[in-house]
């Protein structure tokens, strides 16, 4: 051989690139809601088992994130927000991300089954399948309702946490699921209103593009109204109580006020102040969910002192 080959190592992955494949920010929400689902469930669980359950639920969610990045690498290369992800940046190959996602999915499901029970592990397996296959492969590029149905994947963690303790489902766990499920559309659509992402060139049908921004504003209000009975209904179950109900009522009022403000906005005024109302609504949506689950946790700790609850 006469020529010398130069190998460029600049793009070799670091440990952090593999962590980034697990979507750590999404994972933090999963950890929190799964932990609440586990802690509010009747009958306690040993701390080591509880810790393992939350860890493997989070790992499963992270694994489905890696599978999502593997499948969506072509879109991620086009969109500004995602082009620095490990695969588009050339740090990790698509095959590596796929193998990483599949292996971690298997580990998470098997370990959750061994640590807790088969029902919780089955739910986790279904969640991974739902996010990686139903949402990422089927819905995302096909229907503007992608976010609505895909939101189910993010709604499962508290239900899995509950199942890890009880081994089943109940009204309480279904309502915790419903709360996140109905919350997801207004949360994401408010983001879509101000992140002027080039979804159309990436071939993702976003409601703002397919049905227009005015229609998206109406959809946000519709789901915000739908959220009220779910949020208050959860307060009437065995895991709710006066503290939760008071907090939920206040937050729904605030959320509804924000949704009306978004509906009334004209595109020009919105563009004029750089989508201040939409940004505020998006930020509040995160607080909304955090405080709902936080209030459930407060009720659970009050109950251990013989207070709170119904």
């Amino acid at each position: 051989m006469t020529d010398t080959s130069v190998i460029n190592h600049d793009n070799e992955a670091s440990f952090g690139d593999f962590v980034a494949l697990l979507k750590p920010r999404v994972m933090s929400l999963v950890v929190f809601t799964a932990l609440v689902g586990l802690l509010v469930a009747p009958a306690g669980v040993h701390p080591v088992i509880g810790f393992s359950a939350v860890l493997f639920i989070a790992l499963g969610a992270g694994a489905s994130g890696a599978l999502n990045m593997w499948y969506d690498a072509d879109i991620d290369r086009i969109m500004n927000r995602t082009k620095n992800r490990p695969i588009p940046a050339g740090k990790v190959t698509e095959g590596e991300a796929f193998g990483f996602g599949i292996a971690l999915s298997g580990i998470a499901v098997v370990m959750l089954a061994l640590a807790t029970n088969l029902f919780a592990a089955g739910l986790l397996a279904f969640t991974i399948f739902f996010y990686a296959v139903v949402y990422t492969m089927w819905l995302k590029r096909w229907t503007p309702q992608n976010i609505v149905i895909g939101g189910a994947a993010g709604a499962f963690p508290p239900m899995i946490g509950w199942a890890a303790v009880t081994g089943g489902v109940s009204v309480e766990s279904i309502l915790m699921f419903a709360l996140i499920f109905v919350w997801t559309p207004p949360h994401f659509w408010s983001l879509a209103l101000f992140m002027k992402e080039d979804y159309s060139s990436a071939g993702v049908p976003m409601l703002t593009v397919t049905h227009g921004r005015a229609k998206t504003r109406k959809h946000i209000l519709a789901y915000t109204i739908l959220l009220i009975p779910v949020s208050l209904g959860l307060g009437l179950t065995s895991i709710g109580g006066p503290v939760y109900l008071a907090a939920a009522a206040a937050m729904n009022l605030w959320f509804l006020k924000g949704a009306f403000a978004i509906l009334r906005r004209h595109e020009d005024t919105a563009a004029g102040d750089d989508y201040a109302t939409e940004r505020a609504f998006f930020r509040f949506s995160l607080i909304y969910l955090f405080l709902h689950f936080g209030a459930l946790l407060v009720e659970a700790s009050l109950r251990s002192f013989g207070l709170g609850g119904w």
Binding site: H9, E12, A13, S14, F15, F18, H46, V48, I49, S52, L55, L114, A115
Partner: protein, 53 residues
């Protein structure tokens, strides 16, 4: 430019290997902890009978 054996890539690889090592070590510790907890939760009478048999 002096030729140094240590290149930036070696540091990055070391970081990756160290990270994986720590993850695996914590996994082993967790499985051990789970085993201890699960064994302690077993009914002592039943396990005693198993030993006698």
């Amino acid at each position: 430019m002096p030729i140094t054996p240590e290149h930036e890539i070696h540091q990055r690889r070391f970081g990756r290997n160290l990270g994986l090592g720590l993850v695996l070590a914590s996994f082993v510790a967790l499985v051990f902890g789970l085993t201890v907890v699960k064994v302690k939760m077993l009914d002592p009478e039943i396990t005693a009978q198993e030993v006698v048999r």
